[in-house]
């Protein structure tokens, strides 16, 4: 054992003089960093603030007696997520272990029997949907209408107390979902417009995409927010909806660029063959070019969803209470004292967990797609 450790370290840490020097410089610093972070996390940090303010972090200022709506929405979203996962990766034992691990991590921060039970229920719904689409072929065929119904019902469930009350992590998730879904058709249209036969359409689409891509998102969201009341006086739209419109307008341009790269990847021969069969341009694009192009761009589009999710805290600029603002609201409460590090590390860790899962899924998808195209 000791000889193995010695071999390993002499190979990986002190293999060459320069490596040895680097190790001597970097190793103590890294160890000290890890030690001080662990020491702080275990014995100094007072984590009780996180479970105590879990409701605010998750749903913001959404009324507490309406929390069942948020749980229902979380269940539906989990089911859709599981179903989508099942279409790509069949459910395996190690997935179950992973899910259980995640659940255990969630349960350690959630307190109270009710919360634990509901969290377990949501995870169970996810696993069931995953199993269903993994092994029941019929489930995959009804997935699209089911997803559509699911999204509609999420909004039907969440809307009644008032759209303006949405907040916390739930707002970030809903914003991401709406933006990702709405920006896809607009982005596809823009991508086709950019290679249209008509130079005017090309010009307009190119101009739109390029201008959007050289502006900061925060500006676009803010401008849409202040322009909507000026454009449509008397028609008051909720801040949340205005934010979603701003995000969609911005991210459509990015989706358009991804889709365009996919369109370029479709060999010319495909279009020419279809044309020689006498198909109309519309039919060629819809049933020959687009399916092949979308297949290529699925991994970058998943990465784009992560970008949207990471950009969601920007809605603070239009006064919405998202995950970050909820955390800042808790910090502003003087009854806890200074818990800056605890709250911000919790925010960063949650985002990191979700973000790395999305990244992992994108990488797996890329490998999966590569197998299919061989």
């Amino acid at each position: 054992m000791i000889s193995y450790a010695f071999k390993w370290s002499s190979h990986n840490l002190f293999g060459k003089p320069f490596d040895a020097l680097l190790s001597i410089i970097v190793l103590p610093g890294t160890l000290w960093l890890i030690y001080s972070i662990l020491h702080w996390a275990i014995s100094v940090a007072q984590w009780d603030i996180i479970p105590l303010s879990m409701r605010v972090l998750m749903i913001g200022i959404f009324p507490a007696d309406q929390a069942w709506r948020a749980w229902t929405a979380a269940g539906i979203i989990a089911a859709l997520l599981g179903a989508a996962l099942g279409c790509v990766f069949s459910f395996r034992i190690h997935h179950a272990f992973f899910l259980a691990l995640l659940l255990a991590a969630l349960l350690t921060v959630g307190v109270g029997l009710q919360v634990s039970a509901l969290t377990t229920l949501v995870a169970a719904v996810l696993a069931c949907a995953w199993l269903l689409t993994s092994y029941v072929p019929l489930a995959r065929h009804v997935l699209l209408p089911a997803a559509f119904t699911g999204f509609i019902s999420v909004f039907a469930v969440m809307a009644p107390p008032g759209v303006g009350l949405w907040g916390g992590l739930l707002l970030s998730v809903l914003l991401t979902l709406v933006t990702a879904i709405l920006s896809l058709p607009i982005g596809i249209l823009l991508a086709f417009g950019r290679r249209s036969r008509f130079s005017s359409v090309r010009l307009i689409c190119t101009g739109y995409i390029e201008i959007m891509r050289s502006l900061p998102l925060i500006l676009v969201v803010y401008w849409i927010w202040i322009l909507m009341p000026v454009l449509a006086t008397g028609w008051s739209l909720a801040d949340v909806a205005r934010g979603m419109i701003g995000f969609t307008i911005f991210y459509s341009a990015y989706v358009a660029e991804y889709v365009r790269s996919g369109l370029q990847a479709v060999p010319r021969g495909q279009t020419e063959a279809a044309r020689s069969l006498g198909m109309s341009e519309f039919d060629i694009n819809r049933s020959i070019v687009l399916p092949q192009a979308l297949r290529v761009v699925v991994p970058p589009l998943v990465g784009n969803v992560l970008d949207i999710f990471n950009a969601a805290p920007l809605v603070f600029i239009i006064g919405l209470t998202d995950f970050l603002r909820a955390g800042q609201m808790i910090l502003a409460n003087p009854q806890y004292g200074d818990r800056t590090y605890e709250v911000y590390s919790y925010l960063l860790l949650t985002y990191f967990l979700v973000g790395s899962m999305i990244t992992y899924a994108a990488r797996k998808l890329e490998a999966h797609m590569a197998i299919g195209s061989r």
């Binding site: 005017s200 050289s214 998102l217 999710f309 990471n310 973000g355 999305i358």
Partner: protein
């Protein structure tokens, strides 16, 4: 049409038919083009009309006259042009009696200040991280990997807020500030660095020396001949030495008293946090670009260098990185544009960049629409300038590679 007329053999069957079909096709194409243009013009007109009506209801008229009105608010940092005295515009700190236009210029100055510093620093840090991810040293490799993964999978805004509220504002107060060798002061009131200070008297000899130095620097950057660039380096070193020796140029160290520091150059806490957040964030993305480019380099390059007996460090410095930089420059350009856009997040911690200044001006005057035009044009210009510089550097680098 002319080609058709000249090439058509007289009496060929169907020539007229083909021509008329082509003509009809073109006519239809033009008609659709025209319809699209008309539709877009109508839409934009409608939009403009609606905005004008909406603004008229609030009693605001679309005009840029507000730019010359006095601003009436203060900006915590930032310099602007003022035309008040003399022919040459003076470059000085913004005060509340300056115009709104000057406020916008101060905002652009602040945005540029952060962007330029962040571009330089993140390129260096990103390259180090990217090379570190491929290091043979296990600790360095994994440390770089986890830093990059963590930063890429968390939102920049939360990182920024973390840097500001949890790091920069937890620096020691100025009275107990850490002071490093060379006079760097790190405190929650700001970061202070030594600066070069000019104490020349405007005499002919000092101006000649300074102009010679600048010529040498410009020559070092743009001269295409390698030998001339070496001469320029020698000249720069000699000239700077003379400037120091003659006392025209001196190093100004910051001095901290109990509540403030004077001398040197300083970064405000907001600027320091924004810079840290953006540099670390972009460096992670740049590291991924660099790593991808190194991975894409043919394995033969490494093997050939190894068989020549070059050490790994020499291989990376002389064989790999020069080739990698040629490939990654366009991606770097995109990253630089993204970085410049990200400076707009400074509003979350109160850094007075262009967006922040625009928000204040729009609130004070109600002219948010005109502000939108100004800000949009500014960001578009910034993006174009960056991509122009990057493509210039790219063409220059590839030219050098080809001629070598």
């Amino acid at each position: 049409m002319i080609i058709n007329e000249t090439n058509a053999a007289p009496g060929s069957v169907g020539c007229d038919q083909v021509r008329s079909r082509r003509f009809r096709k073109r006519l239809r194409h033009d008609a659709i083009q025209f319809a699209i243009i008309a539709l877009v013009v109508a839409l934009i007109g409608l939009l403009g009309y609606a905005v004008k009506e909406g603004l008229a209801q609030k009693g605001i008229k679309f005009s840029f006259a507000f730019l010359s009105n006095a601003a009436g608010f203060d900006i915590s940092e930032g310099k602007t042009f003022s035309l008040s005295d003399g022919i040459f515009p003076a470059f000085e700190a913004f005060t509340s009696d300056r115009s709104n236009g000057a406020a916008f210029i101060a905002g652009i100055f602040n945005t540029l200040k952060v962007a330029v510093l962040a571009i330089i620093l993140s390129t260096v840090l990103g390259t180090l991280l990217g090379v570190g991810r491929l290091s043979t040293n296990w600790v360095v490799r994994n440390l770089s990997f986890w830093i990059v993964e963590f930063v890429r999978n968390t939102p920049l805004l939360i990182q920024l807020v973390f840097w500001y509220f949890a790091v920069v504002l937890h620096f020691p107060p100025l009275a107990a500030a850490a002071k490093w060798y060379g006079g760097v002061i790190i405190s929650q009131q700001g970061l202070y660095f030594p600066a070069l200070s000019w104490s020349g008297d405007g005499s002919g000899i000092s101006i000649a020396l300074v102009s010679a130095t600048w010529v040498a620097i410009v020559g070092f950057i743009v001269d295409p001949v390698k030998g001339m660039r070496r001469v320029c380096v020698v000249a720069i070193v000699a000239l700077v030495g003379v400037l120091f020796a003659s006392g025209f140029l001196s190093i100004n160290y910051p001095v901290a008293s109990k509540f403030q520091a004077s001398g040197g150059t300083s970064l405000s806490p907001e600027m320091a946090a924004l810079l840290l957040a953006i540099v670390v964030n972009s460096a992670s993305y740049i590291a991924e670009i660099v790593r991808g480019a190194i991975d894409a380099l043919p394995k033969g390059q490494w093997e050939a260098a190894g068989s020549l007996g070059l050490s790994r460090r020499n291989t990376i410095n002389d064989i790999v990185l020069p080739q990698v930089f040629r490939v990654v420059l366009p991606s770097f350009g995109n990253q630089y544009i993204g970085l410049t856009k990200n400076t707009a997040l400074g509003i979350a911690i109160g850094y007075p960049d262009l967006f922040n200044v625009y928000g204040t001006v729009a609130n004070q005057t109600g002219h948010s629409l005109e502000g939108i035009v100004i800000v949009m044009v500014s960001y578009l210009l910034l993006s174009w300038i960056i991509s122009a510089i990057v493509s210039w550097a790219n063409s220059r680098l590839n030219q050098m590679g080809a001629s070598r």
